[in-house]
Each structure stands twice: as structure tokens, then as C-alpha cells.
Amino acid sequence: MSKKEFDIPAVPKDSEALFTPEPKPDATASVRSYPASAQHQEALGFPGEIPDDWQDRALAHFETLLERSRSLRVYLDSCVRCGACTDKCHYYLGTGDPKNMPVARQDLMRDVYRRHFTPAGRNFPGLVRGRELTREVMDEWFTYFHQCSQCRRCSVYCPYGIDTAEISMAAREILDVAGFGQKYVNEILGKVHKIGNNLGLPGPALEDTLEGLEEDLRDETGLDVKIPLDVEGADILLVTPSADFFAEPHVDGLMGYAKVFHQAGLSWTLSSHAAEAGNFGMFIGNYEQMKKVAERIREAALKLKVKRIVVGECGHAWRVAYSFWNTLAGIGHGADENDEYARALQNQLDPNYPVPQHICELTYDLMQRGVLKFDPTANDHIGLTFHDSCNVARASRMGDKPGGQMEIPRALLRASVRNFHDMADSTIGDATFCCGGGGGLLTDELMEIRVKGALPRVNALRETMEEHGVTHMAAICAICKAQFTKVLPYYDLPMDTIVSLHQMVGNALRLDRGEI
């Protein structure tokens, strides 16, 4: 096995040093995703090989996107090069590669836009900062738009609100259409269409896995805590990332949800048809893929005749669910009036609950109403902090108050763990640092960028560990959890430092066992 070696960045003693890395041009120019195979590309309707007319296709699609999305053109037109974004990207802070400064990443696309889509660039290319869309430019796009996790931290600090994630999504879609797809995301999208989830976990395997987990729950609690699958007529459909069935510490989160449902006496089910909350269609900015993936959930909800749809701990899924499911699949308001399935679903779902609802909202509501009781001493061996996942913090909300997506998870954790401490303010909430593995970068060939991109988060985590006796960090995103499990050991922190939020909830939740 070839294990590519790279230097692990030292966690700076003085955290100011973190924000002024030594610039190292081209430091990560050779860190590249694997290209998608012809089979992966064609399964999504993209060209299998790079066609001879790739440039025409790329430019034609660029033009389509400019017409379709007014915001894209505004983002490309409005940068004044003030520099506010330059030290905000975790990948720049971790690698020092100037192309990982958000403005430089945007410029990869902006320069092509100027050359091909502005009158000055078309007529007098020498007079504007423009760049012909050559093969070399495409290669550079492929490299650096797969070193952006679309976390949108930079856009919080941009005085014009330029959203680098949207630029990166558009660039990836142009790459796909021209035959330059990325293996990790496109292979997974293919598995969702074929098998129903990112893992490629077939129904019988899911059933077997869930039976095993029910056995574990019985051993642990002495109670018949169920994880129901494909139960027609259940009230709630839980849609959760398939990693929750497979990986650690994700599984502990799933067992935590099961305890909540059990204790509250709620009728719920998972679906083998839609055993995936994740929607990687967003990472490649492709509306059709996003819609197709989201529609599986609608199909499952209609078939199982559920009244509510609840989303498990998955960051980007919650962004898609909260912001886009309504128009993509009719879950929420705003379905097309000619879309009979979306209409049927909107009539079927109970308007007394948020549509869709986050599992944290559900647990929080039960806690507020006194249905659930907690004994936080069960977690006294743990000192905890919370990692805000980028898509939850910056692209969604929970509850009915601004900032609920930050407050509700913390309220659950404070009820579950007595020693809870937040990390530094500039690294949490809507200023949160990405885990380093989001947006379709959670693949081994990008390990260097993943490890280095985690540096700002690890720096803040170390600080709370030293100052407040924090031992663990909770997250509500499958990517964050998988990423930290892999990268924390590079910084000499144990892989099980990262835990699921509902794992903490599950530990502390008082279950009726007769003795209470």
C-alpha cells in the first residue's frame, strides 16, 4: 500500500501564529482527487471520457449557469480584492498555499468569466485580467475546487457576501459536464441511485445490522429498544446518513435516537429505500442529481404513509432538507402545483410539526415538555465541547429563533454532560471552522489536505482540553465524525475523541427501567 508521507503541521503555541502562515506557493498543487471512471460518470449522465469538444461544452454550461443563477454572476463581478477572506479558509491556514485563499480560489473561475463572458474580455483580452479556458486551467480547477469544502466560512467575512461554496459548486458542475468528474462523489451518487444509500448497503445487510444493534441496546439497557425498518403506517420516518449504520461513533448516535424514540413512546421507522440522508448532488452543484436523490425520500414517505419526516445527524443533509427539500421533493412548502406527488405528500404530513424536523429539534422539544429526563452524572467521565458543523451553522436553522441551530444542540449537551465548555468564540457558531473533510473531500487520496485543513479546529480543541479538562468533542454530522476519527490521530489525539451528540444524550437519558 502506498502511504504518501507529508509533514503534519505543528499546532502553534501562540494561536495568532495560526492566522499568518508562511505562504508556500503550489504547496498542495499535487494533492488531487482521483478522476471518476467512465462507468461512474456515465451513470450520472456525464461523459465517460473527456470529449474532443470539452471546451465548448464547458463554456456552454458556464453560460447556462450564469443565466440560471444571478448570484453566480454577482459573485464573479463584485469582488473588490479587499483581502478580508484571505486568512479565513482552514485550508489556507493549514497549507499556506496561496491558491487556497478564498479570493484566489474564486479567481480561478473569475478570470475565465472575464475572458469569455464580459465584453471587454471577449474583445480586448489583453486589457482585463482574463484567462482562456485551457486544459491547464481545467486541471487547476479540478485540483483546487476539490480543496474547498464548501463550508462558507469565508463568505461570513466577505463584505459583499461572496459565497465561495456556490462558485466551487458551479465549477464542479462545469467539470462534470466536460468530462472531468471526481471519483469519490460520483461513485457514491451512483450507489444512491442503485442501492439507496452512499455506502451501498443493501436491504438485507441493513436489516441484519439493525438486529445486531437492537441486541446491543437490550444488553445495555435491559429494555426492548427497537430500531424499526420499513414499518408502514409509522408516524415518523427517520432519514439519517448511512454511516449511522456502519461507522463509529456514528452508530452510537443512532442508538441514542432509538433511546429517545423509545422513551418518548413515538412510532417511528427507517426506510431501506431511503436509507440515506446525505445528498452529494449538492457538492457538485447539480440540481438534477440533488432532486433525484431527494425524491427517494419522498417515495419512501408516501409508501410508508408517515406523518413526519425527521433528519438524523448529517450536516449537508440538513442544509438540503431545510433549504431545498420543499422545491426539490415537496417536503415543506412550495411544491409545484403540477407536481401531484409533492402535493400528495404535503397533504399527508402533519403541519403541527416542522417539516422536515431535525433530530435535535425533536429531542429538544421532548426535553422542554418534560417528556425526557436526563441524568448528566452518567457522563461525568467526559469533559465535552461541541464542533458546529458548517452546513448546520451557516446554512440552516433549528427551532423558531435565530441561532437555534447553535443553541439547541448545546442545550441538549448541557443537559447531558456537566463538564461542557465551548471552544474559542472565533471558532464556533457561524464562525466555526470546518472539520477539513466536508464537501466531497472525505477520501483518502486527499488525506494531506484533510489533515492540514483540520489544524484550526484541532488548535481550538487543544486549547479547551488544556484549559477546561475537555476530553471529547461532539458533532452532528457524519462527515465531521468520520473526518475527525481519521485525522485526530495525526495530531496525537485518540480517534474516539469525537462522539455523536445523541451518544451523549443516550448515555444521560433516563429510561424507565422500573428502578427510577
Binding site: M1, K183, G200, P202, A205, T209, I479
Partner: protein
């Protein structure tokens, strides 16, 4: 990438996972292990064999928890944990054990 085993060419993907699962052999697993400076012991084989059995039945590698539980049942509770698995396969059960067993790599947020 490709391996030559007993005169048969076995193609792999970029990450060293074999593409045609029917071309797997014990010799191939041993060659892969040797490249990682790993000598396959009886304990390694217990895990590789279980992975292959599970895959045969379910067309996917088992979840880590399923794997540790089975190993605990078969080899004793002191071995039914991921620490034991990582001692045997330091690159991780998915990355290393599945690869030696000729299984595709689990994908997704894992």
C-alpha cells in the same frame, strides 16, 4: 495497478482494491500484506475469512461493530474491540483488512 499471482493478472483500482473479486486468492492477500511489511498470522486470517463470509452473504463489508462483535464471539471477548483490530491492521479494518480480503472499499461518510 496490477498483481501477478500464479500467472493470473489481477487488476486493482488506484487505491489497491482488486476490481474483479473472483480473482482473489490467499496468495494475493499474502503478497498485498508483504508490501505493507505485514506477515499474515492465523489471527489475521480469522478476520479476513469472516469478512469474506459476510460479503458472500450481504454484498458489503460488515460494519465495524458487527465485525468486533463476531470476533468477540469467535475469539473471546478480550478480542472483540476495535483496538484489537487496529493492532492487527494498523491502517484500519476497512482500508487494510477489506483490501487483503478482496472486498471493495466501503464508501460514504465513513
Amino acid at each position: 495497478m496490477a498483481y501477478e499471482v500464479n500467472g493470473v493478472t489481477v487488476e486493482t483500482d488506484e487505491e489497491g482494491y482488486i476490481e474483479d473479486l473472483s480473482k482473489w486468492s490467499k496468495e494475493l492477500a499474502e503478497i498485498m500484506a508483504k508490501e505493507d511489511d505485514c506477515e499474515l498470522s492465523e489471527e489475521h486470517w480469522e478476520i479476513i475469512n469472516f469478512l469474506r463470509e459476510y460479503y458472500e452473504e450481504f454484498q458489503i463489508a460488515p460494519a465495524v461493530r458487527v465485525l468486533t462483535k463476531q470476533i468477540g464471539k469467535r475469539l473471546g471477548p478480550e478480542k472483540g474491540n476495535s483496538k484489537y483490530l487496529y493492532e492487527l491492521f494498523p491502517y484500519g479494518p476497512a482500508k487494510q483488512a477489506c483490501r487483503y480480503a478482496g472486498l471493495p472499499k466501503p464508501t460514504g461518510c465513513v
